[in-house]
């Protein structure tokens, strides 16, 4: 072998190191053994052995979202690849940068229904930003570098590299990252200055403006959140965030109206409904936000900043589209705002805030903690109170009511500290995501706010958590129901709770112990604080089983297909505002 020749597996590892990869999440199998053999003989990259490939991808997502780096996954062919499909789709929907290397049967067997063969590039084409099948070992280094570039630039997303086993063994030449450009892929980061000027003009003339911002601000990096915060404060306008955007603007700021959308606050949704200028930054007018499209903010002029042209005018027509990166566009916008000495009508703004304060006075998130049963909202509020002074707290969630309560009751002051599955809504996301976050931030407090049903979907990762001694805390709001499903059945299906009761649940305390973790339980409101305190004191992994009200529903709620001003604010509202037939078919 010539001296500058490396095997495919060596080229792969060298390329990963050159891309700044420290950790990868994976699971071995026949098609990737040559790669594992090279991994075994080096120290630059740490491999985290998960217990199921879905866990690997979610861990990589948590790692990526909490660091801004690309999360990396290594799985085998066939079942290894198919098990990662949910995670890849999740990362695509939520714009999370992930590179997933899948083993493949050797080139000469592709198409033969060989053992553990599947058409990985075919299966993952619709659930990745891009994918590659390596057919020549000399292309491998370029492909890896390109994959990282595609995953993290523009609108981030997952990229798959399908690597046949013979390619991992064959020898070829390595090329370093800086020699790799791209012929066709070149996302636009600077926004059009004329459009930015028009946006500023609209904003300066606004009487009832609102900032509606989302995950794109987080994707753009922490500096973008700082710019956003600065700009919102300069303008004095109200600001609301999507589920994916939480942390992009400080929750404690008086200008923050809370989350908007289906389970957003009364004030945020009504302000969206009534505003005259909407400044959408890095959010995608998702159906959880707009509700009934025809009634979505009918009287407003809309500005939309997004790096992905296809997000613009997809669901909602906007007046001033600006294609570019949030950070870059905000920088220019602030400059233009300052140089034009924009001065919005202060009386109008005052009146607008007065109106907003009236909406706020409805106190839409209020609940009553009385009697012997723990309210789920109370549990999260106590968790927040007990941890908000800490510097580095990361919250992940599963999917369901607990996720919404976490979004409503846990205040996020900075970006990258909140990881949740928004677009795909993947139950089983939270525990492996927390694991990935903890790997990236070994000394931080990482809590998975979980539902008892969701956490069972990837509970096997407790074993990974044990192996790497990760002090991840699972805070389960145990209502013994698929609560979110039960809530919809109550609202839309006459209270016929088909298959939403969680029978035969494990004893979560014993379950924790069996994985070498600490199990705690709270059954009465008075026990909540103690359990939280004990959980925070513990330097091991903890499962805290918080037995909460089985009947509690998550409000406010805008039923699917309804308008923002048709919100249900509490249990009393359900009977009065029946859901229409159009809404019944929606999810």
């Amino acid at each position: 072998m010539a001296s500058n020749q490396l095997t495919g597996a060596e080229i792969l590892l060298k390329a990963l190191v050159d891309q700044g990869v420290d950790e990868i999440f994976g699971y071995p199998g026949g098609a990737v053994l040559p790669i594992y053999d090279v991994l075994f003989q080096q120290n630059a990259i740490r491999h985290i052995l998960v217990r199921q490939e879905a866990g690997a991808v979610h861990a990589a997502e948590g790692y990526a979202r909490s660091t801004g780096k690309v999360g990396v996954v290594l799985v085998t062919s066939g079942p290894g690849a198919t098990n990662s499909v949910t995670g890849l789709t999740d990362a695509l929907m939520d714009s999370i940068p992930v590179v997933c290397i899948t083993g493949q049967v050797p080139t000469h067997l592709i198409g033969n229904d060989a053992f553990q063969e599947c058409d990985t590039t075919g299966i993952t084409r619709p659930c990745t930003k891009h994918n590659y099948l390596v057919k020549n070992v000399n292309d491998l280094a370029r492909i890896v570098h390109e994959a990282f570039h595609v995953a993290r630039s523009g609108r981030p997303g997952p990229v798959v590299i399908d690597l046949p086993k013979d390619m991992a063994i064959a020898s070829g030449t390595y090329v370093p990252p800086n020699r790799v450009g791209h012929k066709s892929y070149a996302p636009k980061v600077k926004g059009d200055l004329d459009a930015i000027k028009r946006a500023v003009e609209l904003m300066a003339g606004a009487k009832k403006p609102i900032f509606y911002c989302g995950g794109g601000v987080i994707n753009s990096g922490p500096a973008a959140s700082k710019l956003l915060t600065q700009f919102v404060r300069t303008t004095g306008f109200p600001c609301t965030l999507t589920l994916m955007g939480l942390g992009a603007f400080p929750a404690s700021d008086p200008q923050f109206l809370g989350m908007l959308g289906m389970h957003g606050t009364y004030e945020a949704n009504l302000a969206m409904n009534q505003c005259d200028v909407m400044i959408c930054i890095g959010a995608r007018f998702d159906d959880r936000i707009t509700g009934k499209l025809a009634a979505f903010s009918p009287g407003s002029k809309k500005i939309h900043v997004d790096i992905d042209q296809s997000s613009i005018n997809k669901n909602v027509r906007v007046d001033v589209p600006i294609v570019g990166d949030v950070g870059h566009v905000l920088e220019d916008m602030i400059k233009v705002w300052k140089s034009s000495q924009a001065k919005p009508d202060q009386n109008a703004l005052k009146a607008w805030w007065k109106q907003i304060d009236q909406w706020r006075a409805r106190d839409c998130l209020k609940y009553q903690q009385k009697g012997d049963i723990i309210k789920p909202q109370y549990a999260i509020q106590r968790l927040y109170e007990a941890t908000k002074h800490l510097d580095d707290v990361y919250i992940t969630t599963e999917v369901g009511q607990h996720q919404m309560w976490a979004a409503q009751f846990y205040g996020f002051e900075k970006p990258n500290h909140w990881m949740t599955s928004g677009g795909l809504g993947t139950m089983g996301y939270g525990l492996p995501a927390a694991m990935g976050v903890q790997i990236a931030h070994p000394d931080a407090l990482v809590i998975d706010i979980a539902g008892e049903a969701s956490i069972l979907m990837n509970i096997q990762e407790m074993s990974t958590i044990a192996q790497y001694r990760l002090p991840v805390k699972a805070f389960i709001l145990n209502n013994e129901y698929m609560g979110m499903v039960r809530q919809w059945q109550e609202l839309l299906h006459g209270g016929r709770y088909a298959e939403s009761y969680m029978a035969s649940l494990p004893d979560f305390v014993k379950l924790a112990e069996s994985f070498g973790a600490v199990g705690l339980r709270a059954e009465k409101p008075g026990e909540v604080d103690d359990v939280i305190a004990e959980m925070l004191k513990c330097d091991k992994a903890v499962i805290a089983d918080i037995k909460v009200d089985k009947k509690e529903n998550c409000f406010p709620m805008i039923p699917s297909g309804s308008a923002h001003n048709e919100m249900l604010l509490g249990p009393g509202d359900e009977a009065e505002k029946p859901v229409n037939e159009d809404g019944m078919v929606l999810v």
Partner: protein, 172 residues
């Protein structure tokens, strides 16, 4: 206005320049099927061997908002270099080629030949009881020709789908 349910549907011819690599056609077709867009016709062939580029011509239809989405979605595929809406971006010429087999004897056979002549179709193959015509034109012309051949013994049709190019000196 937020909803476009009332907007009218138009036919658009879109030219896409792509890297000629495995899977690129699947990406384009998957995009259309996955997002529920129409494909009326799709053609693809390598056009620049040195740069390894292929050109895809897609005829689709949709409301203005859907057409805008289609173009944006195509543009963000990694191997796509350029997307051009030939219907919107000034005048363009469109051509399609069809091979049309007509079998028959006697008057019908003579009549088919006569119509082929009017349409400037060429005879590529003939036997005692059949012709294969080659006809070039826009989609409407081909449709009309095929319709006229129907009662005269039409047995088989093969069409290329539309290729199109902008008028004038500019390249895609």
């Amino acid at each position: 206005m937020n909803v476009t349910t009332t907007a009218t549907t138009n036919r658009h011819t879109i030219a896409v320049l792509v890297d000629n690599e495995p899977g690129v056609l699947a990406r384009v077709i998957g995009l259309f099927s996955g997002r529920g867009y129409n494909i009326e016709s799709l053609t693809v062939a390598e056009v620049k061997a040195v740069e390894n580029l292929s050109r895809i011509t897609i005829v689709t239809s949709g409301t203005p908002m859907v057409i805008e989405q289609i173009k944006a979605q195509l543009s963000r595929l990694v191997p796509v270099h350029k997307v051009s809406d030939l219907t919107l971006e000034g005048p363009a010429v469109e051509r399609e080629l069809a091979l049309v087999k007509v079998a028959g004897k006697g008057d019908k056979r003579v009549e088919s030949l006569r119509i082929a002549d009017i349409f400037r179709a060429r005879v590529l193959d003939s036997t005692n009881e059949s012709f294969v015509f080659e006809i070039v034109g826009d989609t409407g012309k081909l449709d009309a020709f095929i319709r006229l051949m129907q009662p005269l013994g039409l047995v088989d049709v093969s069409r290329t789908g539309v290729v199109a190019i902008a008028r004038g000196a500019e390249a895609l």
